[in-house]
Subunit: 361 residues, 2 copies
Amino acid sequence: MANDHLYALIMAGGGGTRLWPLSRRAHPKQTLRLFGERTMFQLAVDRLRPLLPMARIFVVTAAEQVAPLAAQVPDLPRENFIIEPMGRGTAPCIGLSALHLRRRDPEAVMAVLTADHFIRREATFREALLAAAQVAEEGYLVTLGIEPTYPATGYGYIERGALLEEVSDFPVYRVAQFREKPDAATAMAFLADGRYSWNSGMFIWKVSRILDEMRRLMPDLGATLAELSAALEGENYEARLSHLWPQVRKETIDYGVMERAQRVAVLPVEMGWSDVGSWAAVMALHEADEAGNVSLGEHLAVATERTMVFAEGKRLIATVGVRDLIIVDTPDALLVTTPEASQQVREVVRRLREHGREDVL
Amino acid sequence: MANDHLYALIMAGGGGTRLWPLSRRAHPKQTLRLFGERTMFQLAVDRLRPLLPMARIFVVTAAEQVAPLAAQVPDLPRENFIIEPMGRGTAPCIGLSALHLRRRDPEAVMAVLTADHFIRREATFREALLAAAQVAEEGYLVTLGIEPTYPATGYGYIERGALLEEVSDFPVYRVAQFREKPDAATAMAFLADGRYSWNSGMFIWKVSRILDEMRRLMPDLGATLAELSAALEGENYEARLSHLWPQVRKETIDYGVMERAQRVAVLPVEMGWSDVGSWAAVMALHEADEAGNVSLGEHLAVATERTMVFAEGKRLIATVGVRDLIIVDTPDALLVTTPEASQQVREVVRRLREHGREDVL
């Protein structure tokens, strides 16, 4: 069931330090090839191709990222790249993008998507988007909820309220409340309760609805967006944007809008989603051999178990008598960690920054 | 107490696969810089300098190793390099070298030494050599015994018999018997017993004595050596050597001579000796920081304990949340193992050979 007013907005501005040493300032996560030949960004576009014409896929990113991202998807219209002068959090980013979409199509329904997540069941993802778009047409702000598979403490949760309707076999609920990242005990309780979904950071709504809510809940941002909307019709949009954007207050869409908005719905979906937030997550998304090893690159494993080698270079990596390791090899830096500790990779990046090691950041 | 007839013979022919990926066919163990700027071979010569003039330090090695080794010790006379066309075990190697020393000095006492071992207390080593030389002058075949510090299963042992004499505070014993590498229980018993030393592979004897024993106990080798000795006085030595050496039967000096020889003595010495037989041994010979880490190269350690990084290249190595690892980084190959498993590195080399990966061997 096509929807001619459905547009995708891929947010592709992130930096990301959690996949160091592969991710760098010059090579953010969405540009990495973690799952074969296609980059995360290419995969994010690819999974939309059966659903949308390229003309209705938009990308918001930093100015210096436009050229590399455009090169990765040559058939994506260049005018569909929206430039955000600097990161101000997801709320301003989405608001700015909504202006551009509204200008293209005042009836636009926008699906706010990410460039650096993994989705295994892409058909389910597309069906969920279409179902969510239908609910969005009715005026709801719809969030895609991820059915939790373990008591994660790294995600926000969404508590569902009453069933709103069922669309294409997807039940859609009113949102009872958004919950911040929980501690371990709370996460266990959420998982046991059954009414909680992970907040995927993917949203579907009419651009008119989200802009209305921003005007209401974030009046400063609303005013800035109104001024930029007017400027878009003239010739001084870029100058105004450069002037105004640094003054915009940083805010997330969750805190700035969703937690206080009216008519918010959640559509829980099981689609093999991962935010690929650590090397442990990368490892979990690859099939292991019978010893539990994941060898991406030339890996000679002797008495080795449950170990991932991710080798970007052409070097031979031999492991002998080790288990539960993650080894990431790049031409100028090597990481050896464990699935358990791989979250702490940020600490490496922090220390490198502290030591002025810009060459490997 | 100088000994004008004392000569050192440094055996520097070994290959060695146990320190892969640093050791390669083209870079055998004795050429490695494992303890700072000086190579193992340079250290082996350096520790003799206070004892012997360079004219009395000889080296036996393969033809292709002469140039690189000579370059490392430019003040060592080039004519003191003895070439062995191919490895035939220690007995033929020592016999051939003894011919050259006898020709230089019929009264020579030769100290058979290794190029790839580590000795922390070098003065003690030199005193032991002098004491052993004095016993050798009396006609004994003297072995340097190493006082065992743990129940090693990787070394041969020497059981001492009656006290023979005491020289410069070193007690010297008749050898009761040589024992092959023991199993763990036997090694424990040896250690508890107190009469066992490790066989260091270092020997001191008169060249005339060792050549006599070879003639008696290894008559085939004796005949070959007699022919080569005659050839040494003519012009066809090299041709005869090339012809005869491939036919020589491989044999160790322990099995070929020592276990059956007469008048064999052992001089036990505590001198901080290590055969540097694995990466675990290399790690043990370096001082660790308070977390137990040994960082040779640029190592960024986060929540890391008892881990050695040996980085030959210029790459940054970050470890996060790991313990008890050994990481050896070279430009074309990386090894990750544990102190416990580092003996199994040979298995890597074996598999690489099997797969025809000559480029990293």
